[in-house]
Subunit: 142 residues, 2 copies
Amino acid sequence: MRLLQQSFDAFDESAAARLGLNRTDLRCLDLILAKDPMAAGELTTAAKLSPAATTTAIDRLERAGFVTRSRDAANRRRVLVAATEAARAAEREVYGPLGEAGTSALRRYGEEQLAVIIDFLETARRVQEEQTARLKKLPVRE
Amino acid sequence: MRLLQQSFDAFDESAAARLGLNRTDLRCLDLILAKDPMAAGELTTAAKLSPAATTTAIDRLERAGFVTRSRDAANRRRVLVAATEAARAAEREVYGPLGEAGTSALRRYGEEQLAVIIDFLETARRVQEEQTARLKKLPVRE
DNA sequence: CATCATCTTTCGACATTCGAAGCTTTCTGT
DNA sequence: ACAGAAAGCTTCGAATGTCGAAAGATGATG
């Protein structure tokens, strides 16, 4: 598990390097691609950043040509952030082959085995979340 | 998979908050606990930080009471970083229950199922690493 | 239509990172 | 032995990213 986590980490880092982004910005871009367009405030919540940090992150993504800003016509206080075609192309380049490799690797398994794997993944996530919740209840040091 | 990764991430963040550390320092502390004592230079390599960043990370861990510095008697250029008892106690508090919960969750599976899970984990890691290697070959943007 | 709430941005301060330079200690060749 | 190079860590200055607070603009409410 630990090793798998480290490999996730290494992948994210390489992906960020490939796109010339830092990891915060890559995370934001992923979130924007998942819900396109997205209001800046939603991104603040989803990325767990301060509003100020979100603004500068969007600035950087905009400068890099991955997103565009526009006022929400329905509520002109809000700013909508939309991914550009360049962002979608980058997503395909980075995640497309990963998805294909994953899919073809899963073909080795039979139906029962896939069920075990899915059950395991769900269980692992549940355990991890329970333990996260436990930590959150403990007092913060300092 | 994506969700599992996010839950890993959330756990690490809570663990760091619990200990009053940032995530870089937590990663360093994990590495030190895994190979205790560890030379500062090894930590630089293992954590993929610059030597300068490593020095300040050790400074912070030392100030927090989690590690101590000492000159290597055999090679007095090197600085050995050792975890304190407080660090080991923190490790037990944070990771102990996670390990137990994980172990007990795995008890639900039979031997064949466990074999499938292990195979899956290894495959996933291999795929992830192959894809990381692919990204590293691409030119860096900008 | 005045006031309060919402949403984003700007501002100043602080933390973390890096590259380069510096210091001490060890190794190498003569 | 000893001069010079190498190894290993730290210090320094600059750049980057983050936050909290305040400000600005728009929308909702009575």
